[in-house]
Symmetry: C2
Subunit: 593 residues, 2 copies
């Protein structure tokens, strides 16, 4: 993707047909997303770049490789407009194996969870991994880490001073996921990052679920360009009328397309121009079963969007929203050669994939062996907390025996937690979890060796009858989260993850039921996507064997530290009241008996 | 336009309605170019920024100024997508007086002629002037100065090293007017500027008239984003299919709208999305008579474009092409308050204008007194060449008497010059111009005190019967251009301009017939637009009195140094063969008699 004086000279010559193309794609139907037209056109490619489209006879030399596209529609590679690939538990290399064969050739990402666990050093290592993969990442510098109010602990604090440095990097294309509340609270790092972006003429990417009216106006006055999170199509309509680009999110957890797309299909087709797609976080199993952005395009077509329009939403619209349309998003001279061979515009089955000028995938699989790079200690050794004891997970109070009125965080969905008041027994100075009342303990342990923080609180909704579970993958901080109804098992679970360098574990009666290793940063694995899908399935079954009937009990747990989810959360500094953005005391009253 | 942490805080508060708006525009019909909708909406403005659109009751405080918009359509201020305002001979201040009342509130410009005559020092001075004017300039750093091949002389050479510095300036929004031939010739400064822009994620603005096929492909491989110069709508179509943004040029000299717009009205309405307008160079008299971009919008509507689409072309489309849509181009929260009060969408008569949150114009005139700033010596003293003598304009050859076969540059239009072979008399070792055959002398004198270069050649088409004319305003170099059929008068003309600090002059029989002073950089004046229009008219009449019947003989002359115009040009280094991009000898043969 680099353009130096030397590569420019080469490309200009190649573009003029003065040196032959390396590859020519012949006989396909060009899906021209710039002109909304479909017509036969051949494509000449030099190295990683499209150098000519149309009649390319002049570009064919004796060494030019001819690629037959008869019977295929040729579309640009798709762009995921907002994704934390880390949530899939797949390393960049493994994630590319999952999504590139489905036609996702670029993604916009903050790589923010790598940063949370390994700082800029780890980030640079991951950026090098990206360069060796068939997947491109357009990086947005996280507006800050941690994202939490009150501030929790991560391995690296992304501040406005860091922005002053990294926004100069050529890999940086904007400011990532700027959460509304931080503008509203006039957070210094956030405003500093935005002011820096303004100076560098970089777009500010947003995150403003349910922002409407004056709140939305205030947010837009902060200079945010786009958003990827709207709950209703009315919200989409208001945001777009007020000048935002909108990404419709269709993730493994939240399915917004069907509702959001009504802004286009029911309210005003003119909105289509600035609508694009993102998947935010996906599970490997979902990609393997349903596909990735290809599935989103099909869903949009099924919802009544014209195939050309849906394809534009997955390609050029994203590219324009993020101001990367000079590089990707269309099949035009000078753009990177990311090209999909599709069966038909209506069915949109991605048959073959070219990225960076190389044919890399066919029939939903890479056509070559892609190996993960060797990992340095920066990414391998991130579990830096001390081993725990059962006492760490016992909630001690000032009375010996009696009752405690407790505020338990009651999970009502992946992104909603409500207050639930319960009365728990106090025995020997310890407030006990209660399987009958569906109240478990939850703890977050700072794991980067920075301060040894530990928190402990009460939660409800998991219906655990016994045992415990733990995860070092827990966006956005990725501290170690432990939940259970047995302090012993919680300690066993935590220690197992710590000793094994990161992962997810399920424990009962002191025994390991299942372990999913996440050796890279404690958050992702270099396993094949199918292998991770299988391991996730096993973890899920193990938690179910403890009694839980949530759709994804492990995930519901590891999302608990996200303070941007109403009404409650828990980080390493304690349980958080989201509405007031303050640490709260879960003990409401103690009654000695 | 600056966004610091402090201004961001203020704006966010104002956006949330926590501090009252300074102004509220009430009762108008919002022309929402983002959603292609028209509906009633009020607008709250804080300082120079739109903070709320829609129901803005919450934003009204006791001090809020209410502006009645009943009966008006409210559109965003218009953006001229490519303009050398210097060509109007009006300083920024005077130019703003002409175009802002017509609804042009932003322009994309290289300010390249200021740079040619006064370097970065003069540029900074003009940028300061811009900040005090109601007109915004989004500056593109000229890909290089001079633009000529072979290289001529200007006061300041814009090199790739200069780009490395200025592209960091917050005022810089891209690379200005990158001419195709310089990419094709693999010019080091040009490629260096582009590579630098790539690193800085800045768009590269183009200039590629008549580029099609492989030439166009090669150009696009150089990373150019947009173009403002297409002769036919087929050229527009090809460029757009290949991924370019297109600006349709409707200047005082060339009228491309009617032909170019067919790409939208006859070929494919989908092209409209990336079409916008520019005026490139305009005469004061034209703006006063016909208007500016408002006129272009009306022309587009008359050519069959929907009013909403035409307004989008003049506003948001330009903003998106240049990636300044976060600042201007729509009436949305967070954007600069540039708002036009228009009588109707169909007639598109601009009645009132707000820029930067201030009501500045009504009924085609500014509503306040705008004074030009004091000019420093950098801009006032740019005529640094020595006085001339008549010998400077005598073409000397190696024979005493006889005939010379001469290649005269024959003007066939403002942007076409063809070869014309003529036989001229040689007397006393001098080749004589010939009024009977319509052959005059033309000379370009370097005027920045750098090397004292002078060139001399023959031209045809002006039909001068006597006298001479000279101009220190002569894009793009703005060296001193002198034309005449009398060496004495040429010297008088040149010396008058030199002694008066720049301007245009017409001379006959040793006498000054007319003089138009251009004291700022020798290229522009702080006069009122109407005054300049009158002076231009007088200059024109004076040249006509010498015999010329060209549409604008002075302009046809001062365009002669532009080497990007086929087939011939003349700069201070000599007459140039454009096709081979080489200096040529106008003397084809000498015959002694």
């Amino acid at each position: 993707m680099e353009r130096t004086m030397e590569t420019l000279k080469e490309l200009i010559r190649a573009g003029r047909g003065k040196i032959p193309a390396h590859k020519v794609i012949k006989g396909g139907q060009l899906v021209n997303v710039m002109s909304s037209e479909v017509y036969p056109a051949d494509i000449a490619i030099y190295k990683d770049t499209i150098v000519a489209v149309g009649d390319v006879e002049d570009y064919i030399g004796p060494e030019t490789e001819m690629i037959d596209a008869k019977g295929y529609y040729l579309t640009p590679g798709m762009i995921d407009g907002h994704i934390h690939s880390e949530c899939s538990k797949l390393s960049i290399t493994s994630y590319a194996k999952a999504v590139v064969p489905r036609g996702t050739t670029s993604m916009i990402s903050g790589l923010d969870e790598y940063i949370a666990v390994s700082g800029l050093e780890g980030l640079r290592e991951v950026m090098d991994e990206v360069k060796k993969s068939p997947l491109k990442v357009f990086w947005g510098a996280p507006y800050k880490t941690p994202y939490t109010i009150p501030q929790s602990t991560v391995s690296f604090n992304f501040t406005k001073e860091v922005h002053a440095e990294v926004q100069k990097w050529p890999e940086c294309f904007g400011v990532w996921e700027t959460v509304r509340e931080f503008l509203q609270e006039e957070d210094e790092d956030t405003l500093g990052a935005i002011a820096e972006a303004f100076r560098n003429r970089l777009p500010v990417f947003g995150c403003a679920p349910m922002a409407v009216g004056n709140d939305l106006n205030g947010y837009l006055c902060g200079g945010v360009r786009l958003d990827h999170e709207s709950y209703t199509h009315e919200e989409v309509v208001e945001k777009m009328r007020k000048g935002m680009h909108m990404l419709i999110r269709e993730s493994s957890v939240t399915h917004f397309l069907q509702e959001n797309i009504k802004a286009v299909t029911e309210v005003n087709p003119a909105f289509a121009r600035r609508v694009s797609f993102c998947t935010d976080d996906v599970k490997a199993s979902d990609v393997l079963e349903k596909g990735h952005l290809d599935n989103v395009v099909r869903l949009a077509i099924r919802a009544g969007v014209e195939p050309m329009t849906a394809i534009q939403m997955a390609t050029i619209n994203s590219a324009e929203a993020y101001r990367i349309d000079h590089l990707v998003g269309s099949i035009s001279p000078g753009r990177i050669a990311d090209i999909l061979f599709v069966d038909s515009m209506e069915h949109f089955e991605v048959k073959k994939v070219m990225t960076n000028g190389n044919m890399v995938a066919e029939n939903h699989a890479l056509t070559y062996e892609l190996k993960a790079p060797e990992r340095s200690d920066v990414l391998k050794h991130t579990m830096k907390c001390k081993l725990t004891t059962k006492e760490d997970f016992e909630y001690k109070v000032s009375i010996a025996n009696g009752e405690a009125d407790v505020l338990a965080m009651d999970v009502k969905g992946p992104f909603v937690r409500k207050r639930r008041d319960v009365v728990l027994k106090v025995e020997n100075g310890i407030v006990l979890p209660d399987t009958e009342q569906d109240v478990a303990m939850v703890s977050v342990l700072e794991r980067f060796g920075r301060n040894g923080n530990k928190s402990l609180a009460f939660c409800s909704g998991w219906k655990l009858k016994k045992g415990a579970m733990a995860s070092s993958a827990a966006p956005d901080d990725n501290d170690l989260v432990v939940m259970g109804v047995s302090a012993e098992d919680m300690s066993v679970a935590a220690n197992y993850v710590i000793e094994h360098g990161g992962g997810q574990v399920v424990v009962a009666d002191g025994k390991i039921l299942e372990f999913l290793p996440l050796p890279v940063g404690g958050i992702v694995s270099d396993c094949e996507p199918a292998e991770i899908a299988k391991q996730e399935q096993k973890i899920d079954e193990a938690v179910r064997s403890l009694g839980s009937d949530l759709p994804d009990p492990m995930m519901y747990m590891f999302f608990l530290p996200i303070t941007a989810i109403p009404d409650y959360a828990i980080t390493d500094v304690g349980p958080v009241d989201y509405v007031n953005l303050k640490i709260f005391d879960p003990i409401l009253k103690l009654t000695e008996k």
